[in-house]
Amino acid sequence: MRVMELPTCRTGVDLVEVSSVATSIERFGDRYLHRVFTEQELASSGSGADKRLASLAGRFAAKEATMKVLQVPGPGLDWRSIEVVRHSSGACTLRLTGAAGELARQAGLSGFSVSITHEAGLAVAVVMAVAAGPAPQPDDVADCHCTRTGET
């Protein structure tokens, strides 16, 4: 009997304090902004100061959540290789280029989707992607990705 290998989902989540983004901009200015965000992200992150900070925090959370989906072992990739694209509807999608795109291809990941929200000084992002191939068995599971940042 032929066993069907169904695709599986990978999920990543991240939480960022909006104030931490404000602190980074105050301390490191353009070095921080241009190291982490693309020109498109900076241009589309809103006009009011508070709204812009929350938007950038959400984008950072989305990048980190994507890195968890990609199962990046180290601190990260070039953060700009994961780009959050905001559409006129308000919905966001992800564009993976460079190293992030290559990791996604190598892992057989597709159908990336992202959801971002921010309130009460916090920004949260959830990212999901479809992985070709069977789900990992319990014995195959290695490090928990929640240890990337020490956050639960």
């Binding site: 960022v16 982490v36 990046v72 180290g74 990739l77 190293a99």
Partner: protein
């Protein structure tokens, strides 16, 4: 060098513990270093040591794992810069 790294962690790591009390091999993620604070630590280290962490180094799990591993990476990068 380790002392300078501790100062950077104390100033930018937003750790719930005093960075000066961390052992050189203590896991920084376990000590509370978040993903966003790591960006600030990285930028501050680049300023402090006048270098830039290449992406190949950022992808390695061990790079920012501890004060000791950060020091090792910086020594390697500094030596590479001097040799080139």
């Amino acid at each position: 060098m380790e002392a300078a790294i501790r100062e950077v962690l104390a100033a930018h790591g937003r750790l719930p513990v005093d960075a000066h009390t961390l052992g050189e091999e203590d896991d920084l993620a376990e000590a509370g270093l978040t993903s966003h604070a790591l960006v600030n630590v990285m930028l501050a280290l680049e300023e402090e040591f006048d270098l830039e962490f290449p992406e190949s180094v950022l992808r390695e799990k061990s790079t920012f794992q501890s004060i000791g591993s950060i020091a090792d990476v910086i020594r390697d990068l500094t030596a590479s810069q001097a040799a080139s």
